[in-house]
């Protein structure tokens, strides 16, 4: 049984310029101990879909229009009251944010913040909470943790702060960890350490990780399964092997073409032509076909393409967009 089963999640933002369909019918599930990657461009709905699960969407203007998110086969996160959600957040589902520089309160000692995170959800004494917090910091590789825990966030580097965030979100042994671009704001060398650390903590707790990123390299190394999102919908879903060795959707193919490689030195880099569509207008058909500079057969112009199963683990949304051969594009560029 999956630990989290999301069905047909729809999150819309009702703005002055119309209804933005940020997440439009997304379904996925995560198993215990599994890492699910969600990739896509900015504005593709990857973050919004996870924030919806935690009830972190600002309402208004946001509204969850439909769907279910069943945690442990019993509780629907989307129909929980705020009180129930407060018990789940941090205890069962934790989150790590993109920018470690701003995700700790600058006016409170690190010790205060970690102890608070623990004591919020477990009835432990202050002394025991401090001991466990120090231990949690040691587990994320912070040396001399018993002294450093008394520091303020501005006395840590970015990588160290992200470690503190991980320690904080994992101290209650949550079943699911949502990591929203946890390495985007960090140096490349630190990125690898942080990813390794997340994997290490995941193994220790046997929790599920949902990794939101636009870095395909990160996804390839970390994830068991991958969802590729475009314009609020999942366009391809499969194991890492399915996505990287047998990509079927033209958008997935185009994303992979965009990865710069050392071998292509001196040649222009590939970019996907056009812009993502304006989500405040209803999109009747294939959203990817709307990008300027792409040619499509026109079959999905007005009828919404559906997900079709390629193999046991691999689903692809139908599309008849034809990407020109790579050499041709780069010659023109």
């Amino acid at each position: 049984m999956p630990i989290l089963d999301v069905k047909d999640l729809k999150t819309y933002f009702h703005t002055r310029n119309g209804t933005v369909r940020a997440v439009d019918g997304v379904s996925f599930s995560v198993e215990r101990g599994e890492t699910l990657g969600i990739v896509g461009e900015s504005g593709s709905g990857k973050s919004v879909s996870c924030y919806s699960l935690m009830g972190l969407i600002p309402q208004p203007p946001g509204r969850i229009e439909g769907g279910q998110a069943i945690l442990n086969g019993e509780l629907d996160l989307l129909s929980c009251s705020e009180k129930e959600l407060q018990k789940i957040r941090g205890k069962k589902v934790s989150m790590i944010f993109q920018d470690p520089m701003t995700s700790l309160n600058p006016y409170l000692r690190v010790s205060t913040q970690i102890i608070e995170a623990l004591r919020m959800h477990e009835a432990v004494s202050r002394k025991e909470a401090l001991d466990r917090s120090i231990q949690a910091l040691e587990e994320v590789g912070i040396t001399e943790a018993s002294e450093r825990i008394q520091f303020y966030p501005h006395e840590f580097s970015g990588g160290m702060r992200q470690r503190v965030m991980i320690a904080m979100s994992m101290i209650t042994h949550p079943e699911i960890l949502i990591a929203d671009e946890p390495t985007t704001a960090l140096d490349v060398t630190v990125q690898a350490q942080i990813l390794e650390l997340i994997r290490d903590r995941q193994k220790a707790n046997n929790s599920a990780v949902i990794l939101i990123t636009h870095d395909l390299g990160v996804v390839a190394g970390m994830c068991d399964r991958i969802n590729v999102m475009y314009a609020g919908k999942i366009v391809e879903s499969g194991t890492a092997d399915d996505i990287f060795y047998n990509a079927q959707h033209p958008y997935t193919v185009a994303l992979q073409r965009s990865i710069p490689s050392l071998g292509s030195k001196g040649k222009p880099l590939y970019t996907i032509p056009g812009l993502p569509p304006d989500l405040s207008q209803p999109i009747p058909g294939d959203a990817f076909a709307l990008r300027q500079g792409l040619t499509s057969g026109g079959k999905w112009d007005t009828t919404p393409p559906s997900l079709k199963q390629v193999s046991d683990t691999h689903w692809v949304r139908e599309s008849d967009v034809i990407l020109p051969p790579l050499e041709e594009v780069l010659d023109v560029g």
């Binding site: 600002p58 959600l85 941090g90 002294e147």
Partner: protein
Amino acid sequence: MSVNPKLSPSEKRLPQVSVDIDAIESGTSLWQDAWYRLKKNHLALASFWVLGFMAVFCFIGPFFSPYDFQSTDLESTLQLPQLKHPFGTDDLGRDQLTRVMVGGRVSLGVGIIATTVSLLIGVSYGATAAYVGGKVDATMMRIVDVLYALPFTIFVILLMTIFERSIVLLFVVIGAVEWLTMARIVRGQVLSLKKQEFVEAAVSLGYSTRRIIFRHIIPNVLGVVVIYATLTVPSVMLLESFLSFLGLGVQPPMPSWGSLIKLGADNIQLYPHLLIIPALFFSATLFSLNFLGDGLRDALDPKSSKD
């Protein structure tokens, strides 16, 4: 901690780098940083000591005075400063030094208490409105707008006339008027703070709304609040002296700096010291509060300072 055992030998050979090891060991809070910066600002620091002196002078001084602030001595009225009465005496022969000290109690007291009242109401009100947002925010801030629209001096005068005139009422009424601006300032700050990731992180860790407001957001606005509070104290003191000057504030025989200045103004041609001395104390306090407020702004918000 004198020697850090984990230092490598090469690091030990660098004694000229003087770092306060104790401060590093325990972590330096942003408040401590601000205090270091404030200590470098001589004007602000001097103002701080002037205010400290004023507080001691007004609150402890009267205990050492041989005179009572209200006992009259009709044989020695309107004396010039002399050894027996360093600040002279007023028209009823009361010792002016004692009266300046007791009057300072009232003026400083109004400043502090009314500012505290305005802080407590303004900060919680503004923070709640901004954090909860939506219709709650709109309703709460429209109430503030309506109260703002009332001509507040008239409002205070009205209240002071309707109810029995007492110092406590004066404190409360001024505080109740002054919190409006504080609420607006705090609301603006919280609106930008609540979009910060650490607030989002606090929500994602399952903290309650009340806890997030009071434990995570308010400490972050305290810098601005402290600055504004030091600037509110003088305006409150001015308001009090204004009311006392009009005869609506503190009732005789209780003095305040405002009523002393009024008395001095009545006798300005023959006995200017009755005006000059309380006015000096009053303006020294106001200047100090403003300088300290300025210094605090530079210390708490180093980005906005000139250098």
